[in-house]
Symmetry: C2
């Protein structure tokens, strides 16, 4: 590391140490607002949270910060242009709404009264996602202080959603409506985590998601399994056979065309994944599962991060109550979700599924299939210059080499990639023990401040190494 960088690291670290108390006080004030988007009672709190954030961003120095209304809960938008007109534009994404939480769910303290125990800050939203949004405010101040600048080295934009915990029902529409103002060269999503306290990582992509519900109809009503059983098709059997046919004997999805376009893992990616200190027993405990399984030829991490899947989320048909009922059910249904990886087109997958189902049904069973709006996969190649900047910034903050992960889940980030046509990078400092959506959610204070350090280093690095969008 050069002296120049060393100095910057020290300057950032000093600034952040000096402002730690005020930062935590402010964050705590925000965490006290129970901005639970899923509970209508809390709608005023979600609005209060948005207003609070607008004020905080103005205090931080953002020349423009405003509430963006949606038909649901409001988002917050802010921008701080660089005085360098040729600098890249970066959009930070996060959310200010939180999951429901109540003391009686098993919290050791009031979820909306932040408290520090040990070196952890406990509160609903501490990690998901207020803490990770808010470290950027400290980060940009540290960036300015350490560099002597009066505006960020990049054109900085923030979009902080208010409905992420409710499934982002209006997010895409919001992004489309404001696409001009949101235009960016790269999107930084700060709503994820890293491998562990000791292993900082950058997430390079998320899987996409296509979902459908298939309803199968047999007899016009439930019929007697004695009088008719063995001679007419049973839609529950048909549903089961459909699900059983989803995978071949090697665990690959057996729907023709499903893998079309899949971007295969590179040797480098596989090698980098393999460097992560992965403890399968421990992972199984996290997964609350009792065995691994899946596509042959891939490791567990490769399966959840880089391979597409077909999963049954729900199946139902016939009598499910206590005891027995000797019927052939009149209908059955399955809910399927397909995780998609880079290169897969959700519309193509949808067509492949829709084309596959009818041929697998017996005569006398008709079907209906409905698809939910899909989420595209996103993936930033390891050699992308913006990704390299994130890695360097994080490396400076953590003083340790940064590895790579991906995210098996899917998120609204893909809408940003889609609408804005910008690569999405994931910068998160949460760790698996933070308890997202669970009682006693917390954030590690050291990591929170490392997040601010990373943010502080990132803007200058981006401006230096990525003068213009490719």
């Amino acid at each position: 590391m050069s002296q120049h960088v060393d100095n910057a690291v020290d300057a950032v670290r000093t600034y952040i140490a000096d402002h730690r108390t005020a930062f935590l006080d402010d964050l705590s004030a925000w965490l006290r607002i129970p901005s639970v988007s899923a509970q209508p009672d809390h709608a005023p709190d979600v609005r209060r949270s948005a207003d609070w954030l607008v004020a905080a961003l103005k205090d931080t120095g953002f020349p423009a910060a405003e509430v963006w209304d949606t038909p649901g809960a409001p988002a917050v938008y802010a921008e701080w242009p660089s005085d360098d007109p040729g600098a890249p534009t970066v959009l930070v994404y996060g959310h200010h709404d939180v999951q429901p939480a109540a003391r009686e769910d098993g919290w050791n303290s009031d979820p909306f009264e932040p408290v520090v125990r040990g070196n952890r800050l406990y509160a609903r939203g501490a990690a998901d996602d207020k803490g990770q949004v808010f470290f950027h405010t400290l980060g940009v101040r540290a960036h300015l202080a350490a560099t002597g600048r009066t505006s960020p080295a990049v054109h900085l934009k923030l979009l902080i959603e208010g409905e992420e915990e409710s499934g982002s029902p209006h997010f895409r529409e919001l992004v489309e409506r404001h696409a001009d103002r949101l235009a960016a060269d790269a999107v930084i999503v700060s709503d994820t985590g890293m491998w562990s306290e000791d292993t900082p990582t950058v997430c390079t992509g998320m899987r996409g998601l296509a979902e459908c519900e298939i309803r199968l109809y047999g007899p016009d009503q439930d019929i007697h399994s004695g009088s008719f059983g063995g001679a007419v098709p049973n839609p529950a059997t048909a549903a089961a056979r459909l699900v059983a046919a989803l995978h071949d004997e090697r665990g690959r999805v057996a729907i023709p065309g499903f893998y079309d376009g899949v971007v295969e893992l590179t040797d480098e990616e596989r090698e980098l994944f393999a460097r992560l200190p992965f403890d399968e027993e421990r992972w199984l405990r996290t997964a609350k599962s009792h065995g691994t399984g899946g596509e042959a030829g891939y490791s567990t991490l490769e399966r959840i991060w880089a391979r597409p899947t077909a999963e049954v989320n729900g199946i139902g048909g016939g009598y499910q109550g206590p005891g027995s009922k000797t019927i052939i059910p009149s209908s059955a249904m399955v809910k399927l979700s397909f995780r998609l990886v880079a290169g897969q087109d959700p519309a193509h997958v949808r067509d492949a599924v829709a084309a596959w189902v009818p041929g697998r049904l017996p005569e006398g069973v008709r079907h209906e299939i409905s698809f939910s709006p899909a989420t595209r996969p996103c993936l930033t190649p390891l050699d992308h210059p913006a990704l390299q900047s994130v890695v360097r910034a994080m490396g400076r903050a953590f003083d340790t080499p940064v590895l790579f992960t991906r995210e098996g889940g899917s998120g609204p980030a893909a809408d940003l990639q889609d609408v804005l046509g910008a690569p999405v990078l994931f910068l998160g400092i949460s760790v698996p023990s933070d308890g997202w959506h669970a009682p006693d959610e917390k954030v590690e204070l050291d990591l929170l401040l490392k997040g601010a350090e990373t943010s502080a280093h990132l803007w200058g690095d981006l401006a230096e190494h990525w003068r213009h969008a490719p």
Copy 2:
């Protein structure tokens, strides 16, 4: 037909015609008692129905008629010994409880106010089963009148259950408790139907029934299909694969040992089934189904009457509500029922199923399996002398050749066969249009009286051709 038989036919027919009005009046009085065993409100009515029947049987001439209590609804027992000590003993089975019914379900008249429209008697229980129990009272009187006897030609016993429409929860216990008094050479079940108005048939057997519920457990709780999907086993998928594996590609049940002991159809039986005027389109309408399917190499009637089956009565797992939920469910379940045919031992089938399941589950999915009490199949060979008597008696009543059916369902008759060690014969005059369990249940008056004629001819024929139990 001999002159002797002709005379007997005429004498029986004349007696029945002469007593038709009183018989229908009495039956109507019984039908007015809403003996709905499934509805606790009607418990006093079920008892009233039993008391009414005891009185009616005594009026008929049965020297002994009594109510038999159970922990649920009461049964009625009656006996009328023959003055011929060497005569066979026959036990008639039926039930005096009825399905629920309410005018607003779609009845054109009060279900408990019997009414004759055209040549049909409409009331709940008209066919199922009061009408078919009651024709035996007229039958035995006609038998005595036509033969000049003062007691029946056979030792006649009646067991009329009060909980058949509630699943006969105490029937087996009742039969076991009274096995000595119920001892018989043959059981005549009058709780079934015949092919059609124009095609009188005798049912020669019922399928048995084994039922189980299989619960599959994967992760300890529902887990995120993005974070974990593709790398851990999904119990809903496992449930589906289990169901899909139940049958091979020829529609045969694929559980090893399932077919052990199955009595195959004889050529004669197949030929006799094939003589029935079967209209598959019409049957499909009755089945409210839109296609046939099942074990290759068998006709629809063979499939429902004479072949064992595996059916899914219920399947469930994961999220079944509106919309989607991206989870790997923690558990799933399937309810299976197996119809069994003669030669199959329910305990052996149970063992075969229990042995088959574990080997079909992936690592990380554990299971629990529970079986309901099973019902044995029953089948009387075509050449059984008692069956031959039923065929002749019915032939005399209907003046037309009698064909054979079986019943795909399963019933408490099997308990009689089991406990008493006697063959079970089915003598029913109901037709498919009678609307069992449906609004506007009715019985065809002509057929009801043919039932009484059959009953009148049967006792003498049995005594003549089957002097002693084999």
